[in-house]
């Protein structure tokens, strides 16, 4: 019997006991579906792979060859608990790569109907579960982080070319992950306005689908609050200072936008 078959009864037990579903055994308000769409931009323009040049706050002119990353542990926080509404939590991981549109959508079925005012997720994987071999599909995708460098998985691989000081062409590889075994994953909080005039469409109604667009501004990785000059960094998987700097910048790269915008 393979591992998957051995584990099936355990997973069923956990489901049946409600252990995996916390206290959501009754849902009198009904549930809807939430679709998260991942969008990648530079400033106000959609990200283009290859060819198109961008400029960061250090003045580096750069192009993007590859963008892939992992997000995990989504939470939707209700605006009010007056009528018994409860927060929603999902403890999984999701892989996104710019060159595969199918990965740019994450669907949550059975989200309790409510107005949600805040979203949390982890960019990368928190240390407690970022262990070697835990997510075979990330291994297959080339996202493993070598055990000798801390183990687990990359949070992000962002790669491309830039014009170095003095001209010509050079490469950058912004690889974020658990460098040296430290946890550089990035907790992200997105404030949402579920009911106001600037609402982002994050009210879930029973039986309906709500789409939320999570937008990454790629340039923000290199711009705020810390400048990141490609000339100063090469391969950074073993560079704790670079990981910490980008961890700070990572908190500001995300926003939620109106899917109809």
């Amino acid at each position: 019997m393979n591992s998957r078959a051995r584990l099936l009864p355990l997973a069923v037990l956990l489901l049946a006991s409600g252990l995996g579903c916390s206290d959501k055994t009754t849902e009198p308000v009904g549930t809807g579906t939430v679709v998260i769409q991942f969008s990648h931009v530079v400033g106000s323009a959609d990200l283009q792979i290859g060819g198109v040049s961008y400029v960061n706050s250090s003045g580096n002119e750069y192009t993007v060859s590859n963008l892939e990353y992992v997000v995990s542990d989504f939470e939707f926080h209700v605006e009010s608990t007056a009528n018994g509404e409860e927060d929603f939590a999902w403890e999984g991981v999701h892989y996104v790569t710019e060159d595969d549109a199918a990965t740019k959508t994450l669907t949550f079925a059975d989200v309790p109907a409510a107005d949600y005012g805040e979203m949390h997720f982890v960019f990368g994987i928190a240390a407690a579960k970022n262990t070697d071999g835990a997510f075979p599909e990330l291994d297959t995708a080339g996202m493993a982080w070598p055990p000798a460098m801390g183990g687990g998985y990359h949070y992000m691989r962002h790669e491309g070319l830039f014009v170095p000081t003095g001209g010509g062409t050079a490469s950058y590889t912004t690889h974020l992950g658990p460098s040296g075994g430290a946890d550089y994953s990035i907790p992200v909080t997105i404030a949402l306005d579920a009911t106001g005039p600037g609402r982002h469409g994050f009210a879930v109604a029973a039986g309906e689908t709500t789409t939320v667009v999570l937008q990454m501004d790629v340039n923000q990785w290199y711009t705020a609050p810390n400048d990141y000059d490609f000339n100063d960094y090469g391969a950074i998987m073993g560079n704790a200072a670079a990981q910490a700097l980008l961890q700070e910048n990572g908190a500001t790269v995300w926003s939620s936008v109106d899917p109809g915008a």
Partner: protein, 345 residues
């Protein structure tokens, strides 16, 4: 095994939680052999009859225009189902322009051929049969020839329920057979399972392989030792072969080729899409000091050239260690598996 059970519990818990949302994400548990769970193929589920039929067809020259060449003539088991010749020769003696790809753990791959122009093994199997410089056959003639064979109709009935012979059924059977090309019992696998120990050179080679210093692992990702994606590794400043761009039409894909698995790389010479390197030592020469900054050079390699280097600059000791590790990826049980060879009758 204790570690695996602990890991499994964590993953099972994640799956249980995911059940609340209807989205599992990529979490799953590895197989006992250390490979990821094999994908499912609901459009062409594997059956014993289908595998038996595919095995016979794979080794049968009836698929070629003059009945002289089978799939196995260019995809030879002893060479990881690759071809030891730089280029394969078709039934008319014509040479191709690329080295025949190895076939190692193809079930996990989401594209086929060096340029990925076929999405599935079924799609892949269509092409060589009708390629004029390969098997140069007409599919309708092939189907008729197979149907006329006294033994095949019963085999098709065993595989698909009726004895009807069609092109679609032929390629589906071959795909089922090829999905059984599973290599997961090399010394690397056995070391991971705690069954054997690496030598000092293999340990050094492994540590170098999985480091930014050598930059092997980002593309040759374990445990499949391929990421299944397309990269320009700086073989030519102006690539004469369009590579992936021939399939996509995208300039940015020019000179990119699918990452080959390094499993059984010891026996799969010559190397690269055009078989230009005869030995692993020549491959390492390229990475050590021969990388060209081609327009689409993969940044993972390109970042190593920042500042004017021409490669990763391996020392002789590092080369020896890397080759020791690469040879630990050889899987004799795969290369000699009688179930993958020609049927006995």
């Amino acid at each position: 095994m204790i570690v695996r059970w602990k890991l499994g519990i964590v993953v099972a818990g994640a799956l249980a939680l995911a059940g609340c949302s209807g989205e599992t994400g990529p979490s799953d548990t590895p197989n006992d052999d250390g490979l990821p769970p094999m994908p499912e193929f609901p459009d062409n589920p594997t059956t014993p009859g289908g595998v038996d039929l595919g095995r016979r067809l794979f080794h049968d020259p009836v698929l070629s225009g003059d009945g002289t060449q089978s799939c196995a003539d260019c995809h030879r088991q002893a060479f990881a189902f690759g071809d030891p010749r730089q280029f394969s020769f078709g039934i008319h003696g014509d040479a191709g322009t690329r080295n025949a790809s190895t076939i190692v753990n193809p079930a996990w791959q989401t594209s086929q051929f060096w340029d990925g122009r076929a999405a599935t093994l079924e799609d892949q199997a269509v092409s060589p049969v009708q390629n004029p410089i390969e098997m140069a056959a007409d599919w309708s003639v092939v189907v008729a020839a197979v149907a006329a064979d006294p033994d095949y109709p019963a085999a098709f009935a065993a595989a698909f329920g009726t004895s009807e012979v069609t092109q679609e059924r032929i390629v589906r059977a071959i795909a089922q057979f090829e999905r059984g090309f599973v290599s997961a019992d090399s010394k690397f696998d056995r070391e991971r399972r705690g069954e054997v120990a690496f030598s000092a050179a293999e340990i050094r080679g492994r540590d170098l392989f999985f480091s930014e210093e050598a930059e092997c692992f980002h593309c040759h990702a374990a445990p499949l030792f391929t990421d299944g994606r397309f990269h320009d590794i700086g073989l030519d400043l102006d690539p004469p072969d369009e590579g992936r761009a021939a399939a996509t039409g995208v300039v940015f894909d020019r000179g990119k080729f699918k990452t080959p698995s390094l499993r059984n790389v010891e026996v799969s010479a010559p190397y690269m899409h055009d078989g230009r390197f005869a030995t692993l030592e020549e491959v390492l020469d390229h990475y050590a000091a021969g990388i060209q900054r081609s327009p689409n050079l993969d940044p993972v390699l390109g970042v190593q050239l920042n500042g004017g280097a021409t490669g990763l600059g391996f020392t002789p000791e590092q080369r020896a260690d890397l080759i020791a590790f690469l040879k630990a990826l050889t899987d004799p049980s795969f290369l000699q598996n009688p179930d993958l060879g020609p049927p006995s009758s």
